[in-house]
């Protein structure tokens, strides 16, 4: 009987510990994720995008060592990257947020992984900030864009 209780006790403590550790990984300020794999808050889609939603994307100017006749938005750049990639999108958001929070180390880290895995053939691109109402943009394409910074691969 004692052993049974001991095992149940350990299990309950373990579950509570996972719950607490998971919640602690949640970043309420929406800055940088504190996630420590495989501990996770499981707070998926807890956030509702608002009418003035901000998102970052990139515009490609140079790829395969040739200047493009027309700069390409990331969403249209299937030839040079995978615009559907969740990782690519996350890295672009990280770069935007790193600049917003003046975190150079974070920017450098995100940029390196992004350039070496997601836009291997791209040499020059611009980070852009988009502001939009998600439903309106989905239905009409309407949005506002602001240039944040130009990047050249391999250069600061």
């Amino acid at each position: 009987m004692r052993t049974y209780r001991k095992i149940w006790g350990c299990m309950i403590v373990g579950l509570i510990a996972y719950l607490i550790a998971g919640i602690l990984t949640f970043d309420i300020q929406k800055k940088k994720s504190n996630e420590k794999f495989p501990i996770f808050s499981w707070f998926l889609f807890a956030d509702v995008p608002q009418k003035h939603h901000v998102r970052y994307t990139i515009k490609i100017y140079r790829a395969d060592n040739v200047d493009l006749p027309q700069p390409l938005m990331f969403s249209e750049a299937a030839l040079y990257s995978n615009p559907k990639s969740v990782s690519a999108n996350k890295l672009i958001q990280d770069m935007g947020r790193a600049i917003e929070f003046h975190d150079d180390q974070w920017l450098q880290q995100a940029r390196e992984v992004f350039e070496q895995n997601q836009i291997i053939r791209v040499q020059r691109y611009e980070l852009i900030k988009l502001t939009y109402d998600p439903v309106e943009r989905y239905q009409t394409g309407k949005m506002e864009s602001d240039s944040i910074r130009f990047f050249e691969k391999g250069k600061e």
Binding site: F43, N89, E112, Y138
Partner: protein, 314 residues
């Protein structure tokens, strides 16, 4: 006579003779124990299948660019990355095979966990941590602690207890998802923003997700342009997720809850293009085939035990 015929029909369709053993606690324990052993082996067999399906991707894994390694594979930065990745892939596949063959050996289960843990960590070391492999990592970790001695009532009971712990852990992750969504309501309301309680919330969530990933889904456009019916789905998903731990505590609900959450995942793919196949598998394996579910579908008992709904209303 009528009752007899009905009983025979019910037995035929429920296909069970197991209920005959309900009188004996120890016999029931034996049956549950043997079902659990089969389920655990099936879990490792699925791991082999998963690892085998990834074989054509090995070349692409090996050729990946610079990683931002998560802590379990931080050693990748200090070795040749290609060799390190090859080591992880081999460890993963061989560990899964070993765990199917030697399920009762702790070293084999440890090997399977380590291989899968490293693979999942490596796969998430490129800027974004995905969560579809988390359940398998957590389950394979807990399975290491299966008792080595499963002889006798005590040994069998410990296996059953560990299995229950796994079920509760799975339920907890879904309840945490529900807690996050309820927390989101308060946070948005506190900031004077549109919260999930707003009928347009789901349309905004779907539109933003599809824009984010430059994709379209089967139901996406409909969801964006029909906020009210869509919102009902959102509230239903909140309930299903938040109440998960309570459903896990009610074996009579195991099958129905697992199918419900699996359908939620499948539906999420057709709406958000987010896919969690490993979680769907785990749900259907550990709850759809739950050894604790009554042999017969007890609708009345299920209705009486719906979480958070007072019994006098039912």
């Amino acid at each position: 006579m009528k009752t007899m015929v009905f009983k025979k029909w019910r037995e035929f369709f429920s296909g069970g003779t197991l209920h005959e053993s309900e009188g004996s606690v120890f016999l029931r324990q034996r049956i549950q124990f043997s079902q659990i052993q089969t389920l655990i082996r099936a879990f490792y067999a699925a791991m082999v299948l998963h690892a085998s399906f990834q074989l054509p991707e090995w070349e692409s894994y090996l050729g990946r660019g610079k990683a931002d390694p998560l802590w379990p594979v931080s050693w990748l930065s200090s070795v040749d990355q290609r060799s390190g990745i090859l080591f992880i892939l081999v460890l993963w596949l061989s560990g899964a095979v070993m765990a199917v063959v030697f399920t009762e050996k702790r070293w084999a289960r440890g090997w399977a966990f380590l291989g899968f843990f490293f693979f999942a960590a490596f796969n998430n070391s490129f800027g974004k941590i995905g969560h579809s492999l988390h359940h398998w990592v957590l389950i394979s970790f807990l399975l290491i602690f299966l008792p080595s001695c499963t002889q006798g009532r005590m040994g069998r009971q410990r296996v059953i207890q560990l299995f229950i712990a796994i079920q509760f852990l799975i339920g907890l992750t879904y309840t945490m998802a529900g807690i996050g969504k309820i927390g989101g309501i308060f946070l948005h309301l506190f900031n004077g923003e549109m919260s999930p309680l707003h009928p347009y919330a789901m349309s905004y969530i779907v539109a933003e997700r599809l824009l984010q990933t430059n994709t379209d889904s089967l139901f996406g456009a409909w969801f964006v342009s029909h906020p009210y019916p869509t919102w009902i789905f959102l509230l239903g998903a909140f309930y299903l997720q938040f109440a998960s731990l309570w459903f896990v505590a009610r074996p009579v609900w195991h099958r129905a809850w697992a199918v419900g959450v699996a359908l939620f995942h499948i539906f999420s793919y057709f709406t958000f293009t987010i896919i969690f196949p490993q979680s769907v598998f785990v749900l259907l394996l550990f709850f759809g085939a739950s050894p604790f579910t009554p042999d017969r579908f007890k609708v009345r008992e299920m209705i009486r035990s719906i979480p958070f709904i007072p019994r006098n209303l039912l």
